[in-house]
């Protein structure tokens, strides 16, 4: 299933490809500064620092403030973490509390059958 990307996402991926160390390009979409948002941001940041040290680019996007950035991302609910790179594109929805789910979702471990 082809992914329709907007221009900014394409630019981001292109930029990341140029930066050799940035193997992982992630976007976390949240809705306002709710406690859940804050928690999700903290969890994702911790996760990245722990498992993807210095290999990632993370953007936090408030869909209320920047609704345009959602376009083409097939976001159905927030918080949603989107892994643009490495391919394949992956989405993870929820409060990001479950570290195992993050590992599976980011393709860092194989999902149990």
């Amino acid at each position: 299933m082809p992914v329709r990307m907007n221009r900014q996402t394409k630019e981001l991926i292109a930029a990341a490809r140029e930066m050799q160390h940035a193997r992982y390009v992630l976007r976390l979409y949240v809705a306002g500064m709710t406690p859940r948002s804050a928690e999700a941001i903290r969890r994702v940041t911790d996760f990245c620092e722990k498992h993807l040290t210095e290999q990632y680019e993370l953007e936090i996007i408030d869909i209320y403030q920047k609704p345009a950035l959602m376009r083409g991302e097939q976001i159905v609910a927030v918080p949603t973490l989107v892994k643009h790179l490495p391919e394949p594109l992956r989405r993870l929805i929820g409060d990001m509390q479950d570290e195992d789910k993050l590992l599976f979702g980011m393709d860092l471990v194989t999902r149990p059958k």
Partner: protein, 561 residues
Amino acid sequence: MTAEMKKETLRRENEELRHRLAEAEDALLAIQAGQVDAIVVDGAAGAQIFSLSGAETVYRLTVETMAEAAINVAADGTIVFCNARFSAFVATSTERLLGRDIAGFVPPEDRDAFRALLRRCCTQPVKQRIVFCGPGGVRTPVLLSGNALSQGDSVSLCLVAADLTELESAAYQIEHLRERHVRLQQEIVDREWAEETLRLADRRKSEFLATLAHELRNPLAPIRTGLDLIRALRGDAAACERPLQIMDRQLTHLVRLVDDLLDVSRISRGKIDLRKERLDLAEIVEAALEISESGIGRDDRRLSVSLPSRPLPVEGDRVRLVQIISNLLNNAAKFTDEGGRIELGLVPCGERVEIRVSDDGQGIPRERLSDLFEIFSQIDTGRGGGLGIGLTLVRSLVAMHGGTVCADSEGLGRGATFTVSLPLCADVAQQPMPREAPQADPVPRRRVLVVDDNPDVAESLHLLLTVLDAEVRVAHDGADAISVCAEWTPTHILMDLGMPGMDGYEAARRLRADHPDGAFRLVAISGWGQDEHRQKAREAGFDRHLIKPVAVAELKAILLE
């Protein structure tokens, strides 16, 4: 493509599909578990965000829409947050409230206590009525609840204030209504009392009317009988003497009853004027003894009178003082049995004098002493007759003379004493008592015009005056009288006041106008004897004013003038 490669491709596609399926499942689970803040729906108009009412939104809405004021202040009273309600309480917009000292919004005189309240609030919850104020004299009484909020090592205070304006206004209304209720209850009690008083007065009045009918009929009966008797006797003068005496006495009694009635009515309407002069009380006693009812005259051995040798000057109306004493004497006689004794005494007591009338008669039950002087009150209506207004008259007349009257009795069968106390005055101007004209005096020839619309009254006066050797003409109204005087010159005109057509006042004015130098005496003879009528008659030109019925002695005195 080898079979091996085809297999690997299929395996990868299979894994990718599984992964996407898991992702979709995870998304659904996260939504179901409430782990999301918003749902995003892609539509023709772009993405729409449906917020799932995050906790913060709910709290903020709650705080903004609640009926109470919510304020968050730092420990020093600086306003960190407040809702629109507080802004309304102090009539100041929110932008001008944040960062200000909240103590600036309580009245100056309350500020110290308010700061103490905030200090206390740092350690324990508080709840107290205070008043918030704002520009323009805005005042809002509130019930303030406060709790301390710990945020790290700093403390802020969460204050909630409920508006008491309506409550206090309701409490005021309740208090107002309660007072009104109490007043109304008092009014009900007062009115019930007044109603009871009226009922009692009404009952007494009814009893009085029954007694009145009885009392008026009593003297009328012997008068009726006497008339029939005289008619039957056909001019036997000697035999007529006895019924004439009876009729005379009964008529006197009847006149006295009517006089008393009129007096009571006048006193109760405040229409009696005293003609005050300085008098010796001993003279008054003499006069009273003279007019008191037959049976207790001075010579009657039932009565003993003790008068001091020195004069006892009082200031008063001669007629009324006589009336007081004679009423007391009549009252004593009425309640004293045959052979009983009545004592009348004058006792000087410092600057006052007491008139004491005692008897050894029927006496008065102790419980009746208090209302003895009330109008229409009679202890025993079957006893001695009377209207029960004599003592009421006494009390009113005594009071008009600045005196008091009281009754005392040892009880039933043990007699009674009535004591009138009057103030004495310095000296007495000696005035001879007016004497009735002796009946034997000769009457010079007079021409008398009698004017009365009642033919019987006119006729009887005509006859009587003729007997008194006067030349008499009769007219039946004012106009009639004027036309008689146009051709005939009377020496006296005896005229009724209330007549149909031209009344007595008008006729008197016309007669005076028609005959400015007329030498006639104009005498009003009327049933109306109040001061206002006398005054009106004088103004109309009358020389004298006689009250019906007119005794023959009065007529003679008039003719002698």
